[in-house]
Amino acid sequence: MTAVIDTVLDKAYGACVVLRGATLAVRPGTVHALVGENGAGKSTLVKILAGVVRADRGTLSAFGHTVPLASWDRARARAAGIGIVQQHGASAPALSVVENAALGVEGGPVLDLAPVAEQLAATGAKVGLPIDPYARVSTLSLGAAQRAELVAALRLGARLLILDEPTAVLAPVEVEGLLARLRALAADGTSVVIVTHKLDEVRAVADDVTVLRAGVTVATFSTADGPLDTSAIARAMVGSDLPPTMTVSPPAEGAPVALGLRGVSLGGLRDATLDVRAGELVGVAGVDGNGQRELALAVAGLERVARGTVMLGGRDVTRASPARRFAAGLAHVPEDRQHGGLLLEASIADNLALGRADVTGRFRVDRRRVLAHARTQIEVLDIRPPDPAAIARSLSGGNQQKVVIGRELSRPGLVAVVACQPTRGVDLGAVVRIHERLRAAAFAGAGVLVISADLDELLALCHRIVVVLRGAIVGEHVAGAGARAALGALMTGAA
């Protein structure tokens, strides 16, 4: 049987080499999992296959025909039968589902959307993913928008469907549904490539597995050779055994409340009440979009709460600006390091000193102290390259995140920390350092609130975890045995 895809690829962005001779071979009618940790190059690989990104060098054979890589673009890939559902979607929110589906294949200067809508509805019904073609994408949930893109790709007759981290925006039960659909599609003859770093999903759905590490294909596995060995896959992903997780013992009973929220309401978040004690690590779990953003904004003071109070180390900071909260002992690691965490065009040293009057001085900038502070943080967090003058934009995602963590967690007199998605898109080495640093902050007496869409991270890091669902805190569980099941149930409202 000729392979659906057979490829070897090279790709670099500037000085950053993303793919080095990475290979992928997909058998027809299979679900093929492309795994690797954050930053391994998985997204880039599949974007090249789909023609969204152009490779620097390599070969690609699709459905038995060799493809000229230099001219391989989205239109050609689509014509060849390759469909893709990208990680953050690629739909225009102001347009409807059918308008998005018609984009690029309008079929004439005047639009005739009715037949397209019919085809979308029919395709959706056939594969068991019903959609409303005339809905505007901005009104859809992330999961529904993703379904719509999937159906649109199938409508165009995709013989190979690529999904990049599709389960990141889904609750556990929706994940099961999606994976079942993918198995059915593969059985029907449409090959599927699913990019993921979650091994339980791989075990549930994959026929074959390709492991990418640092841009190189390091291993392949197949169910043709017997059941998949997930620990072998994990070892291939990381290159060694995962380091054992350290723990911080939970705070004593009488520890003071470092961060307290009482009846906080802001936007979609309603009546949130939560206590984080000094020395405690509390996680906030839940699928993105259930009120976590509002929670972070309320704690950081970036938006004024409609109702409720925020207490920091016993002081009422509800009306305080972010600057006053920093002075009162808060640290805030924002969700998006590139648009909120860092000044991308500034150096590491300048970023580490941003908003830190204790480092720069009140008026005249003490450049010696800025440099010394930078050198300290670079060492503590192993920031690479270890050059204080390096520009933030040139750093990898993990090192950028370390700079943000370094700036925030080095604040003197730290009372509470709120960290949002602290290791999203970060390589494992950096994940370890960042988790260590968060634990150290708790050990030093701060109350640490970690908001993350990655349940595994919270289970490894926190003492207890609360769940937000549709804007409300619906329950909590101490980390440990049975936590994952209980939290999963809370996240979907099944509890």
């Binding site: 500037g14 000085a15 924002p334 648009h339 000044l343 450049r367 204080p388």
Partner: protein, 351 residues
């Protein structure tokens, strides 16, 4: 202090190259225009240089123009640094002309210079700051696009000044108001009888001061952060609204201060149309100088040279040619920076 601190940032090198590219592009464009006008570019450019630098008066005029431009250029640069476009410098300049002309004339004739001059400077800067504050305020609190409100205010202030002049100030059918007090009049610096005056010294001091504030203090870091990435600045605790409002006030003050070059240093009275064009040209200066105070200062010398030199060779090519180059310079400077940044990224990949 280690060498690492003294090394110019990669950004600085790139900015310098961008300026050079912008100048070369303008040179090329100007040469093409000269050819269109039927003259040899080499001849025209060399004549421009020789006549301007060979004549003391013209040289003085270059400095005179550069003085006003330096202040309006710094005004636009400051606003750009916080992410705002202060196109209202023209109107702020007129407000400064009016304020210093009126206040200067209202002072008793025996006022000593040590009081008169600061009072007039304050009046000019204050008037400009007020206008800047209005533009910034409606932008921050009402989300009104500052480019449009600036342009509308420019026209409004010019009309208002003309009205006040006609009704209250102009003497005997002219468009010139009463003389300002002798104590407020600043001496001219000679240069063959040109208009360059003591405000040149003030401009140099302001350039140095702005440079120090921008590179060496936390204020400068705060306003640069707001302009570079408001989201990051907010998360780091910097108050965007406050920084932008203060910057607009400061920007207006600088533009208003530019008025003193014309009122205190040259005409010694409020006149209609005094300093016209300095505001608009200040935009070119700020962009050519890449919003760096020293860069802006050098850019004003280049633009001043173009302006005076264009007049000096007006018998060879239309003087409007150099006026056109003002716009070319802006586009070239705006395009060179990003283009270079992308070339750098591409080259790094090939390595």
């Amino acid at each position: 202090m280690s060498w690492a601190e003294l090394r110019p940032s990669p950004h600085l090198k790139r900015e310098l190259i961008a300026v050079v590219i912008a100048l070369l592009v303008s040179l090329a464009f100007g040469s093409v225009l000269m050819l269109v006008a039927g003259k040899a570019p080499g001849h025209v450019w060399s004549q421009m240089v020789l006549r301007t630098f060979g004549d003391e008066y013209l040289l003085g005029q270059v400095l005179y123009k550069a003085t006003g431009l330096a202040l309006t250029g710094l005004a636009v640069a400051l606003a750009l640094d916080v992410g705002l476009f202060n196109i209202g410098v023209e109107g702020q300049l007129v407000a400064g002309v009016l304020a210093s002309g009126v206040v200067g004339a209202a002072l008793p004739a025996t006022t000593p210079a040590v009081i008169a001059i600061p009072v007039c400077l304050l009046a000019a800067a204050g008037a400009g700051a007020l206008v800047g504050l209005v533009i910034g305020g409606v932008r921050i609190y009402r989300d009104a696009h500052e480019v449009i409100t600036s342009i509308m205010l420019n026209a409004s202030i010019t009309g208002l000044a003309l009205y006040i002049g006609n009704v209250a100030l102009f003497r005997g059918g002219s468009t010139r108001g009463p003389d300002i007090a002798p104590g407020a009049q600043l001496p001219q610096l000679g240069f063959g009888g040109s208009s360059v005056n003591a405000v040149l010294v003030l401009a140099v001091l302001v350039v140095a001061g702005m440079w120090w504030l921008r590179s060496r203090t936390t204020w400068g870091r705060a306003w640069l952060a707001v302009g570079a990435d408001p989201a990051a600045a907010r998360c780091a605790g910097i108050s965007i609204g406050r920084v932008q409002l203060l910057a607009m006030a400061g920007s207006g003050a600088l533009a208003g201060l530019a008025a003193t070059n014309f009122v205190l240093g040259h005409k010694h009275a409020f006149e209609e149309g005094l300093g016209r064009g300095t505001g608009l040209l200040g935009i070119s200066a700020a962009l050519l100088g890449r919003t760096h105070p020293i860069g802006v200062a050098l850019a004003t010398l280049v633009l001043g040279f173009l302006s005076v030199g264009g007049l000096a060779v007006a018998d060879e090519v239309p003087k409007e040619l150099t006026e056109m180059l003002q716009g070319v310079v802006v586009l070239a400077a705006a395009g060179a920076g990003p283009w270079l940044a992308r070339r750098e990224a591409l080259q790094a990949r090939a390595a």
